[in-house]
Amino acid sequence: MIAEIGRFLIALALLACVAQTFLSWRGADQGGRSGAARAGAAAAEIAVVAAGFAFLLLIISFVRSDFSIAYVATNSHVDKPLLYKISGTWGGHEGSMLLWCWILVLFGLGLARIGPRDPALRARAVSFQGLLSSLFFAFLAFASNPFERILPAPIQGADLNPILQDPLLAIHPPMLYVGYVGLSAAFAIAAAGLMQKSGGRELAAALRPWALGAWISLTGGIALGAWWAYYELGWGGWWFWDPVENASFMPWLLGAALVHSAIATEKRGAFPGWTVFLALIAYILSILGAFLVRSGVLTSVHAFALDPERGMWILGMLGVSAVAGFALFALRAGSLGEGDGFEPTSREAFIGVNNLLLAVTAGVVLIGTLYPLFVDLMGWPMISVGPPYFDASATPLLIVAAALMPVAAFLPWANGGAKPGLKQMRAAFLLVPVAGAIIAFIAFGAPVLAVVAGGVGAWALCGAAMDVGVHWRAAKARAARFSVMGRALAHAGVGFIALGAAADASRPPDINRALAPGESLVIAGHTLTLEGVRRADGQNYMADRATIRVDGRAAVSPERRYYPGADQTTREVGLRSDWRGDLYVSVGEARLREDGEMVYELRAAYHPLVWMLGFGAFLVVAGGGLALTGRLMSGAPARVRGRSDAPAEAAAPSEAAEARA
């Protein structure tokens, strides 16, 4: 019965989203303060509660191992640890789609509560968000229902893909989805603004916090995914330019462009059309990402449920969203207005160039990702486009963008003049550590691109430090200090990521060799000695654990696990990290030598300064968080204004609920 109630709740949420779309639309027509607008907000509440309970019921079904639900049967097993029973709820297509939908309606409710200050704009945005949610809930209810039954129920489940049985994978998808789906709020506000003929500045101010929040979350989600790929897939890579990764990288690039261009639009009214266009297309690329990941049209190293029929659904949703957004844009972009003028050496100009570079990079990635698909559709000889393409096209563009980044913080708005800025930045002085970094990378025999990236990374770090040094004291207000600190941290994060990527690209070649107990191999000056291999079984797997001494001292213990429920083998990597880098060992298949001696295949790698990648991503997230806090504190905290602006009735339902409770 739990499953059937869950199905009913999904149906209810779908209908609530439809009601939200129409009621809020009417509410917006009536100025946004009418009963219809409030009913639209109530519909958003119903959708949130219904989808939330459906999600809860699905978790309960996982915990109780109810294999009469097809989704549970294909993604769970009685012997799976409780944590992974719970995280398995969003480990497959249907469950993760439910999570996606729930986050969509949560953002819908968020817009209804703390959305744009103008009530008509807010109601219109809630209506557009309702439309986007309705599309996905229809897909969920009719083509991806997690409560689909199989009768008679199988006695045992097929288990969750073991590479997904990892603590990081419990939080990576929700974070990523908040990022993907959060961009829908920016889309909804942008579309609503075009509909309402709002001014560009007002619109940028309204959508920037949402875009920033979503982009922070997307950054964190991508970083966690890269980290997971680094230690769980056992190949030692953290970024493969794989279609699934590109699917998240394209909205990230456009999101990065959006959070910057929105500043210029909000503060100076510059490029309003471009900002709105970015807000629309960032979410459309999110849906495109979902299509690439879930339809199985491309070969990827990451796993997901794959089904061409679902692909058609997602393509349909993509089409509806894109047509609605772009048609509105074509008809109404003129009403956004023109900003004040600016010089080519002003901050606006630099933000513009940064936007151009980020957007063009996204385009280049898009071409590389979709071209094989296009070739396949045309029936030409099949091709694949791998990392060499992206390294030669996207990476140089990103390096240029990162090189310009530190300067922008020192340029004045409007009437530029690069010289005072560079002087204030003490640019000439900063070139010393930059040259040091470049020389160090050359000395380590790094490839050309890595030397350049290393220099740019050092440049960005120094620039960020100088940014704090110069602007912290100048910023008197607390909100302004948050903004300065947020900007500097995020930019320093980019510097760390560039340095880490450059260091990783210049690492020594990996070693793959079979060793018998007692034998050694040498990598990056470290001697790894295989001491022995013994059994170390877990709750739902069997494992061989190798003990490997590093330089005769500390040991690392990589494992090779076999999960009988899923009938699949995985590796657990042995890592020894310090500030210089990671020693990375994984153990492969055992084999026999001629003389009958058992040997184990070891894969050893050394990743210098790899922590900088994770730390850099953390700084970007932290910096984004500070900037968001500063933005909410300064001028127009949306929450406070929203409360005071909205009539008393708007808050009535929740107060009534509290009173009743």
């Binding site: 513009g352 071409i367 590389g368 393409y389 079979a514």
Partner: protein, 165 residues
């Protein structure tokens, strides 16, 4: 600066960046594009030695050999021809006999294929798209109600778990 001049500036900058990006993308694509060959295509019209290509097919049951020095060698088939693949790296965990895989690498003068990457994925219904297309074209594999199964009796999957020991 006047509005017109600003427009000119923006257009010029955008045009320059776009041209550079397009040039980068086109040259990179020409160098980095990797063609896919099924075993039948290799038998018919092999790629020149040394050229980076992708090959793929079903791993022939019992063909996997694991040299004591490390790495693994195996044979893939599309039903009409076979390719022997030499691989010095660690096979992906999802690799197994009877399963569709894709390998990237190059042929040498003696037509041995040395792979630098092997992609495999285990999902009962999953088949790398290029492999699926090659198999469909060879008539070796048919889709039956969306549940693709090899038509032949290549059921080496049972033995696959043995690799854990």
């Amino acid at each position: 600066m006047t509005k017109a001049r600003r427009r000119l500036w923006i257009t010029a900058a955008a045009g320059a960046v776009l041209i550079i990006a397009a040039a980068l993308a086109v040259t990179a694509m020409r160098d980095a594009m990797v063609f896919f060959y099924s075993p039948a295509m290799v038998a018919e019209n092999p790629p020149p030695p040394g050229q980076r290509v992708r090959v793929g097919g079903l791993v022939v049951a019992g063909s996997v050999e694991r040299p004591a020095s490390g790495g693994a060698n195996f044979t893939v088939t599309d039903g009409s021809a076979e390719i022997r693949i030499l691989y010095a790296g660690a096979l992906p965990d999802l690799f197994r006999e009877g399963q569709g895989i894709v390998a990237e690498g190059a042929f040498d003068e003696e037509f041995r294929f040395t792979a630098s990457t092997v992609l495999a994925k285990h999902d009962e219904t999953y088949m790398p798209p290029e492999v699926a297309r090659a198999l469909r074209e060879s008539g070796y594999w048919q889709e039956e109600g969306g549940d693709p199964t090899p038509v032949s009796s290549l059921d080496g999957a049972d033995a696959a778990g043995s690799s854990a020991r």
